[in-house]
């Protein structure tokens, strides 16, 4: 492995994605902690596949060359559950059979007693002013609340990077800006390198980072 310092950055080193022998795209970029890199592209350009590659869910019909380095560690071949890469999709995907609190406990690593874990979840909810939602059925929350809970769930899992797959496009335009600010602020506060995939120009602009078009 090449010499890289543990700088909390997400590096995509000369990454090339292939479907069969056809190259879909190549990318070489570094996302520093707290920064947002926005990837734009038409549907079918392979931007979601890039996220699958980084998070470890690449379908067998694809292959790649290059490396994905997170915090100085090459994670290109690491199983997805050990990559510490948090994912957010267009839909919040809260588990509908669990309560809000149980969803968050699911995200939290196993360390600590049951009581301590519940405390951590409660203070995380409290920090984002949603303390009273813990007992609720996720499907009874508004779209904006669900998105924010989904982000809290990801953050509780202590990721080292954040991947956002058009996470705001399902929200109506009034809410979109609010949730967007919330997500970016949280990512910045936690100093997470963040990769945002979108086709919405406003998303890209409000992220304030570099923009790459596939």
């Amino acid at each position: 492995m090449t010499m890289v310092q543990n700088d909390h950055a997400l590096r995509l080193k000369d990454l090339r994605l292939f479907q069969g022998s056809k190259q879909l795209f190549s990318i070489d970029a570094t996302v520093k902690p707290g920064e947002v890199l926005t990837i734009m592209g038409a549907s079918g350009s392979g931007k979601s596949t890039l996220l699958n590659l980084i998070s470890g869910f690449l379908a067998p019909s694809f292959s790649f060359s290059g490396r994905v380095i997170l915090d100085g560690v090459d994670i290109s071949e690491v199983p997805p559950e050990q990559r510490k890469v948090g994912l957010m999709f267009q839909d919040p995907l809260l588990f509908p059979h669990l309560s809000v609190e149980e969803n968050l406990l699911f995200g939290l690593p196993a360390a600590g007693t049951k009581h301590e874990r519940c405390e951590r979840v409660r203070s995380a909810l409290d920090a984002v002013h949603m303390a009273d939602l813990g007992e609720r059925d996720p499907l009874t929350l508004s779209g904006g609340q669900q998105s924010r809970i989904a982000l809290v769930r990801v953050l509780l899992s202590e990721p080292k990077a954040l991947l956002l797959d058009e996470p705001f496009s399902a929200l109506d335009s009034g809410l979109r800006e609010k949730v967007r600010q919330f997500v970016f602020a949280q990512a910045k506060a936690k100093k997470l390198p963040t990769l945002l995939v979108t086709h919405d120009q406003a998303d890209a602009e409000s992220s304030g980072g570099q923009i790459i078009t596939l």
Partner: protein, 567 residues
């Protein structure tokens, strides 16, 4: 180039292999177990010379050819009438209020065991049955039951209609599930906007695509109806009986020499079923040829009022008769003194229920244990297979799907006899596990087919979220996917239990009569003719699967009382 975590990946890869062994192993062993004795090879009975003697000898049994013809005829006619009624109704009324109303009855009717439905039907249409009573004496003038041979008629018509009643719900559900996969509405819109009538549009642009995917279930109906034993014992002709009933008599013959004859008969049964399917296959070609010509001749067939009216009436009639069969079972089980032309008994009494309670325990518990075991095995294999598909990103090919239908298309009686012969040799006949395993062969296809669609269409992003939160694939399966699929899993369980509870031949032949279940006990009552006792047994037989379906609906609400997702 890339590594993916497989969780239990390595053992999981065995799942499809185990499944194929479960589906084909006993089948092949069983077929060997009949084909070898049929050609004279049966060392423990001193048969070690290959001979065609038995294959010829069995054809000389009185009424043999009549039995063969009867089986082929019943198989083809049952399938044709059932399919014609179901497709006509779909063509006439899919999407209407009536259709939705009928649909609600179909799943419960499908879960009624064949034998119970046959008893109920017999109690309705017999000369002394409820239908005649309801119109006597005021309309018919009968003071005594008329001397008509309706049940067990030599032409097998009671059997034919009894089978049609049970096969309609099955084909209905199959057509319903296929319809959801072939964008029926768009096809119909195109054809109807070109001026084609509703029914004709359905038959020309929907039916071909629908039938293509219904073919294996239809063949399963043909195979079932050519070789059914329990319904034949209740409704079918006696002298001569259907071929499978004859076979069962020979198999149970105390004279060991008859084993060779029975095995030869089983081979003929295979031939009869295969012949019926071949005839049907030729019929398919003929219909396709004529259909294609009729499709392109430009006639719009807009006036289909009478067709729709007849189809709707017939299907409604089928549902009403099925429901009445159930009611009459309940009435007989509680009937006190009941003189002939009276529409209802003079008084109701729970005497028969109380008297049979003690005798019902063992067969009910046996049936439940066997059903629970066979269904658990089937569920485990099905989930392992489907999860393996997901982790390896593969799917069953159509060829593999055919294997799933194999146990439903090869006549039960043909290979179960072979298995029982083998089991006797190793001394495992008449015990619980072989019976439960034999049931799994028939339960597995239904459990797999009912669970596959919801499992495959599960939103994979939930699993990716779970995994990227740091949970293993196994945790994602156990804590996210399976709980979220609770409803379809419970429905598949209830279906599997219902299929197992209704099994007659596997219980009888593999259990060697020593593992009585509610179904074998109920069918055994057919010869006795005690309607009150039959009412009790058939009703219990019907209620057991019903409890399963009720539980499948209730459990998600009880385990997750506050979750919108499970409502």
């Amino acid at each position: 180039m890339q590594t993916r975590n497989k969780g239990w990946g390595d053992p999981l890869i065995l799942a499809p292999v185990v499944m194929i062994i479960v589906l084909t192993g006993p089948l092949l062993a069983g077929l060997a177990g009949v084909v070898l004795p049929a050609i004279g090879y049966f060392p423990s009975l001193g048969g070690n010379q290959i001979t065609t003697e038995f294959m010829r000898e069995v054809t000389l049994k009185p009424g043999f050819w009549h039995s063969v013809h009867l089986s082929i005829w019943i198989g083809l006619a049952t399938t044709f009438i059932s399919l014609a009624l179901v497709t006509s109704f779909f063509a006439s009324s899919r999407g209407t209020t009536l259709f939705n109303r009928i649909t609600r009855f179909v799943s419960p009717l499908m879960s009624v065991p064949h034998a119970a439905a046959a008893f109920g039907f017999a109690f309705l249409i017999a000369p002394s049955g409820w239908l005649v009573r309801l119109v006597s004496p005021w309309a018919t003038g009968f003071d005594h039951p008329p001397d008509w041979l309706i049940i067990n008629d030599p032409m097998g018509q009671a059997l034919l209609f009894g089978l049609v009643l049970k096969e309609i719900p099955f084909l209905f559900l199959v057509a319903l599930s296929v319809s959801s996969q072939i964008n029926v509405d768009e096809r119909l819109q195109v054809a109807r906007s070109l001026g084609y009538g509703r029914v004709w549009a359905w038959f020309t642009v929907v039916f071909p695509a629908l039938y293509k995917q219904m073919r294996l279930p239809v063949y399963a109906v043909i195979a079932y109806a050519t070789s059914v034993v329990d319904v034949s014992l209740i409704l079918g002709p006696n002298f001569p009986a259907m071929l499978p009933v004859q076979l069962l008599r020979w198999m149970n013959d105390p004279e060991l020499e008859m084993r060779f004859v029975a095995a030869a008969g089983a081979v003929w049964q295979l031939g009869a079923t295969l012949f019926a399917i071949l005839v049907w296959r030729l019929g398919e070609e003929l219909v396709a040829y004529m259909g294609r010509r009729a499709t392109i001749n430009g006639h719009r067939h807009q006036n289909d009022r009478w067709f729709r009216f007849s189809a709707n009436t017939l299907i409604t009639g089928v549902v009403i008769i099925s429901l009445l069969s159930f009611v009459i079972l309940a009435i007989w089980s509680l009937a006190g003194f009941w003189r002939f032309p009276d529409a209802l008994p003079v008084q109701f009494t729970s005497k028969k229920w109380i008297a049979s309670a003690g005798a019902l325990w063992v067969p009910v518990i046996n049936a439940m244990l066997i059903a629970a075991t066979a269904t658990s095995i089937s569920l485990f294999l099905t989930i392992a297979c489907l999860e393996n598909e997901y982790r390896r990103d593969i799917e069953f090919t159509p060829a593999a799907l055919r294997i799933l239908y194999l146990p439903l298309i090869v006549p039960q009686i043909a290979f179960l006899f072979g298995i029982s012969v083998l089991l006797v040799r190793i001394g495992w006949d008449g015990s619980f596990w072989p019976v439960a395993l034999a049931h799994s062969i028939f339960v597995l296809p239904y459990v797999f087919l009912s669970l596959a669609a919801p499992f495959r269409s599960f939103d994979r992003r939930y699993l990716r979220v779970a995994t990227s939160l740091g949970q293993s694939q196994n945790r994602a399966l156990l804590a996210v996917r399976l709980p979220m699929l609770l409803k379809p899993i419970l429905l598949a369980t209830a279906l599997g239990m219902a299929i197992s509870i209704a099994q007659y031949l596997p219980t009888l032949l593999i259990g060697a009569g020593r593992v009585p279940t509610i179904t074998t006990e109920a069918v055994a009552l057919a010869a006795g003719g005690d309607r009150r006792l039959i009412g009790v047994y058939a009703l219990v037989q019907t209620l057991l699967p019903a409890i399963g379906f009720l539980a499948a609906v209730m459990i998600p609400r009880l385990t997750y009382p506050n979750r919108k997702f499970f409502r």
